[in-house]
């Protein structure tokens, strides 16, 4: 009845591990069943043979323990890295470790954004801050003054072609032997370019100057900025005051002033002019004497050439005096805000959104790269801190 169940337990009856009840049942079965008795006998012989096989199987290498201890040391070193502070790290899959590293890098970059000073180029809001303007002016102003050339003193003031309406040499910045021609440039961000142009024209009029040129670039698309370029001339004596007044019309982006001494050029030109005028008088006297037709024609040619040179030199001297008397200022104007989209146009709205998105992406990319550079710059500190934490963790490791 119990034969199938007991027969399958006979190997463990032979090795003596059956519980008391099964052991007794197996003993009874072996005593009453010839097949089971033979099975027990076979299993006993098999066990004896296997135990003998085991006893003669040899022994392991004596140095196996040394190798095992070395392996344990290696394991212990890994376990140190697996301190509770860092155990979570080794429990992570490589993918999750990469995610954690990325997140840490992101936090570093974000931290870089928060800590980093504002190094971006001047933006309209910052430039229109009038309190910051003096510092900006000081840093941006560039004055170029050429070295005065040697010339005859007082010769400049005796130029015969000097314009009667031009300011006096002292007023125009001309000192002894020095004739200064000033030019300037101002770049402004203004709330409204149209209003700024009107203000510039009024300023030029008040300073006894004039607008020489105007290039007004009205934006054709939403998102573009309204820009304009003007050139003013003002009396040299009012140049400085005009530049200062211009700087107050909007946010100053840059300002340049250059001065050039043209006194030497004027003196040289005037000397050459006087010589040519003397030569002209001599030619006229020769012609008055009359003579052969050929001689008269030759003198006439010389006289014509001399007059042409005199007029050319006279013009140059006059232009140099004008440069000294009147200073020119080039002005670039730019709207602070891009032109608004046309109202009620879905296409324009989409286009503007797209442009705004591109602008944002550009800004974000620049900021991201900048933040990453900050992260790299601070990496030694972060790595140093990590090293300290790691060393402390090792010291806190179990003894």
């Amino acid at each position: 009845m119990n034969h199938p169940r007991i027969s399958e337990l006979l190997p463990w009856y032979v090795n003596g591990t059956l519980a008391i009840g099964d052991r007794q049942a197996a003993a009874l079965e072996a005593a009453s069943c010839e097949e089971c008795a033979k099975d027990v006998e076979d299993l006993t012989k098999i066990q004896a043979a296997m135990l003998e096989l085991e006893a003669t199987a040899g022994e392991p290498d004596d140095y196996a323990l040394t190798r095992a201890l070395a392996a344990v040391e290696d394991e212990e070193r890994k376990r140190r890295l697996g301190h509770p502070w860092f155990g979570w790290w080794w429990a992570l899959t490589p993918f999750r470790r990469a995610f954690v590293v990325s997140a840490a890098l992101g936090i570093m970059i974000a931290g870089g954004f928060i800590v980093a000073p504002k190094t971006a180029p001047p933006v309209p809001a910052a430039v229109t801050d009038q309190s910051a303007t003096p510092i900006a002016l000081e840093s941006m102003q560039r004055v170029q003054l050429e070295a005065p050339a040697a010339s005859d003193s007082g010769a400049a003031n005796s130029a015969p072609g000097a314009q009667p309406q031009a300011p006096s040499p002292t007023a125009t910045g001309a000192t002894d032997g020095v004739e200064i021609a000033k030019t300037g440039g101002v770049s402004l961000l203004v709330p409204d370019v149209e209003s700024a142009i009107a203000g510039l024209m009024a300023l030029a009029k008040n300073q006894s100057g004039a607008v020489l040129s105007l290039d007004d670039q009205t934006p054709s698309r939403a998102g573009d900025r309204h820009t304009a370029s003007l050139e003013l001339i003002v009396p040299a004596s009012r140049f400085d005051a005009t530049v200062v007044a211009l700087s107050k019309l909007g946010g100053l982006r840059s300002r340049t002033i250059s001065a050039r001494n043209v006194g030497g050029q004027i003196v040289d030109s005037q000397a050459r002019l006087r010589n040519l005028q003397h030569a002209e008088a001599d030619y006229l006297k020769i012609m008055d004497r009359s003579g052969k037709i050929d001689d008269v024609l030759a003198v006439e040619n010389q006289l014509s050439s001399t007059r042409e040179q005199i007029e050319e030199l006279d013009g140059q001297v006059q232009a140099l005096h004008d440069q000294v008397a009147f200073a020119s200022i080039s002005i670039d104007l730019e709207d602070e805000a891009p032109a608004a989209a046309a109202a009620g146009s879905p296409a324009a709205a989409i286009r503007d959104s797209w442009l705004a998105a591109l602008q944002s992406m550009q800004t974000f990319t620049i900021a991201l790269v900048g933040g990453m550079l900050w992260g790299v710059a601070f990496a030694p500190y972060v790595l140093g801190l990590a090293l300290v934490v790691w060393i402390v963790a090792i010291r806190l490791r179990r003894p």
Partner: protein, 194 residues
């Protein structure tokens, strides 16, 4: 006075508890207790002394690593041989032993037989036949026989070692026993066995 199995198990549990705290002396003691049995156990599967030693060390390092997780739900030896069984199966999956490595076991047995009398020589003949017959069995069937007749485990402990149900152990033993007898019969030792 010999130590009873229960006392041995209690001592080994204590060592494992110390190992979990990083006690290398306890590890050495446990290692010395299991070095031989594990080495010979692996020889039944891989037939190469070097690989058997390597697997023995792998098991003991695993014991060091997992000592803190040992909950004493079974005897320490069952836990350790459970690790060893899976190491052996992994080793067999990765590497099939070349025939030349079989000489390792055979040479040891032959050396033992040289100085033996005739009865011992006959026993050695049976040993060789049993060893050769065991080699014809699958790893699972071999493991059931080794764990039963050499390590002396009960079927429930073998089930724990192999990670399978008790009935599976009994079934494996049934087929292992039958195949072993057939193999021995083919080798002409059936008369000895029966």
């Amino acid at each position: 006075m010999p130590i009873s199995p229960d006392e041995t198990a209690a001592l080994e549990e204590h060592w494992i508890h110390l190992i979990a705290k990083g006690d290398r002396t306890a590890f050495e003691r446990l290692y010395r207790s299991y070095q031989g049995p594990l080495f010979r156990y692996f020889l039944h599967f891989v037939h190469a002394a070097g690989l058997a030693e390597e697997l023995t060390n792998d098991v003991m390092v695993e014991v060091w690593r997992g000592a803190g997780r040992f909950k004493a739900r079974s005897r320490p030896s069952v836990w350790i041989f459970g690790i060893a069984y899976h190491k052996a199966i992994d080793a067999l999956r990765k590497r099939r032993p070349p025939v030349s490595e079989l000489r390792v076991v055979e040479s040891v047995a032959s050396a033992d037989a040289r100085g033996a009398p005739e009865a011992a020589a006959e026993r050695e003949s049976i040993r060789k036949d049993v060893s050769a017959a065991l080699d014809t069995l699958s790893a699972d069937h071999r493991a059931v026989l080794v764990l039963t007749f050499i390590q002396g485990y009960g079927y429930d402990e073998i089930a724990h070692v192999m990670g399978c149900p008790v009935n599976t152990v009994k079934t494996r033993m049934f087929y292992a026993k039958r195949q072993l007898k057939e193999a021995l019969s083919r080798r002409g030792v059936r008369r000895e066995i029966s």
